[in-house]
């Protein structure tokens, strides 16, 4: 049980997919304009990560080593299709906002990375908690980045104006702002890590 909790918590801070493993930056850069988009993307990716990790760890003994990547992709694509269709059905606004980046979860480095690096070597239970922790870490990172970007770029948070008279800094709503915020946050977290050791 203790190891399971450890698998779960490591994805949140110690091995955070965005800030420590630096995986999945493409959707992070693209969808982190507003917090709502960030949460939606995070939940979709967590769902896919959870499903694919569990299935991969269950059938890892039946997959021949040479064709494992195509097999992972088929499994991941199945879950992405489920996520995309449910999003289209229940939240068309979010689906339009995220656009191509929902189908692109198929090739998200985090999902494939966890399947290749963790789920294919570990039991179902630990893969489940690993996927959950990684998904949560990704979601939290997205919320942090998109929170900063939405507040600075449009003066709002989740669509609510916070400070009256605040002149929004447009650049944070643009792709260059995403690179800037992620770069500075990466530097900040590395600084914290270096100071600890």
């Amino acid at each position: 049980m203790k190891t399971l909790i450890k698998e779960f918590t490591k994805g949140i801070i110690r091995e955070n997919p965005t800030f420590v493993l630096v995986l999945g930056l493409c959707p992070t850069l693209a969808v982190s304009v507003t917090v709502a988009n960030g949460i939606g993307m995070g939940i979709a990716a967590t769902f896919v990560l959870l499903g694919s990790s569990v299935i991969v760890s269950l059938i890892k003994d039946f997959i021949p080593g040479r064709i494992r990547i195509p097999c992972y992709i088929v499994i991941i694509a199945t879950f992405v299709t489920i996520a995309e269709m449910s999003m289209k059905a229940y939240s068309p606004v979010l689906d339009r906002a995220l656009g191509i980046y929902v189908p692109l979860i198929v090739v998200n480095c985090i999902v494939l990375g966890r399947a290749e690096a963790f789920a294919c070597k570990n039991s179902m239970a630990s893969s489940f908690f690993d996927g959950l922790g990684m998904g949560l870490g990704f979601t939290l990172a997205l919320i942090l980045i998109s929170g900063i970007r939405e507040f600075l770029g449009s003066g709002q948070l989740l669509g609510h104006t916070l400070i009256r008279g605040f002149e929004p800094i447009f650049v944070f709503g643009m792709p260059s702002g995403a690179l800037l915020v992620i770069g500075l946050l990466l530097g900040f977290f590395n600084f914290l890590k270096n100071r600890k050791t």
Partner: protein
């Protein structure tokens, strides 16, 4: 008896030039353009320059205090960043604009890379481009010269881009600065006086500015009009921030190539990008983007123009 024969390694010949000496000379050389800006746009321009400079220096001081580094505000580099940033702003800007720009210049343009000597981009231009992308409304509202109130006018280049340049502005007006524009870029005469100081002192060489300006002029002359070889190259040299950029920002020691060959390539690249943005780009002016892009290319230029070691 003390031994005065000190044996030491080379270099044996020293020049008095030091970082702070050079930087303060650069500050001195920018003063004519600042005076011209204040005369042309009134006291508003002075407040913008002061706000940017004070903000730049105090940001550097605060950052170095917080991160427990050596405080280097007296070497003049933060002062020059603040001044050059202010010269790239319209005089009618609200005063928080130069302050935010200077903070961004120092922190993101310089400090995060490790301070002076480590920055890959010209800090003042980083600040300007940040402000341009963030608050285009304030960055493209230019007060009319010699009106000293809220009357605004487009810059010659912006008017040209929108096809509104109906009458021909006399070259002498452009040269002396009787036109809309940023504080430090309008008076070419004052800028050339400052540039002459730097060239005379040997703190900058002619390679980057001259190749930069000539490339822009040539490209505009060839492609600038509907017919080939009919472009108004003199107008393009005298308007916009070309002279300010070529002499004061494209010659930044840190972010430009080391060898003469590299500097010529740097100048050519800047000129080409400036001319392309001015003629076909979305913005009326491209000097800041051209210099920043070539700053980014500087490590590669340096790698391919490395001098041959003697004897190999």
């Amino acid at each position: 008896m003390r031994n005065n024969l000190i044996v030491s390694g080379s270099p044996h010949i020293h020049k008095k030039a030091s970082v702070s000496r050079i930087m303060w000379t650069v500050v001195l050389s920018t003063i004519p353009a600042g005076i011209a800006g204040v005369i042309i746009f009134g006291l508003d321009a002075l407040w913008v320059i002061l706000a940017a400079t004070i903000a730049a220096v105090s940001t550097e001081w605060a950052f170095e205090l917080i991160t427990k580094r050596k405080v280097t505000i007296l070497d003049g580099s933060a002062v020059i960043t603040g001044i050059l940033l202010a010269y790239n702003l319209p005089s009618g800007a609200p005063l928080w604009l130069p302050v935010v720009g200077a903070i961004f210049s120092i922190i993101v343009g310089k400090a995060v890379f490790g301070g002076l000597g480590q920055n890959i981009f010209n800090p003042a231009l980083v600040g300007r481009v940040f402000l341009m992308a963030s608050w285009p409304k304030y960055m493209t509202t230019f007060p009319k010269p010699f009106s000293y109130d809220a009357v605004t006018s487009a810059t010659p280049l912006a008017a040209l881009k929108e096809g509104k340049l109906l009458e021909h502005i006399p070259y002498l007006d452009l040269f002396l600065g009787n036109r809309g524009g940023c504080i430090g870029e309008v008076c070419i005469l004052a800028l050339l006086i400052g540039a002459a100081i730097l060239l005379f002192k040997g703190y900058i060489t002619w390679h980057i500015p001259v190749t930069y300006i000539l490339t822009t002029a040539l490209f505009i002359y060839v492609f600038g009009a509907k017919q080939f070889f009919h472009g108004d190259w003199l107008f393009h040299i005298l308007s916009g921030g070309l002279i300010l950029g070529a002499f004061f920002m494209a010659t930044d020691y840190v972010a430009t190539p080391l060898t003469i060959k590299g500097q010529v390539i740097f100048g050519l690249g800047c000129g080409l990008i400036t001319a392309v943005i001015r003629l076909w780009g979305g913005y009326p002016e491209g000097v800041s983007y051209a210099i920043l892009m070539m700053n980014a290319a500087t490590p590669f230029i340096d790698r391919y123009t490395r001098a041959r070691i003697y004897g190999t």
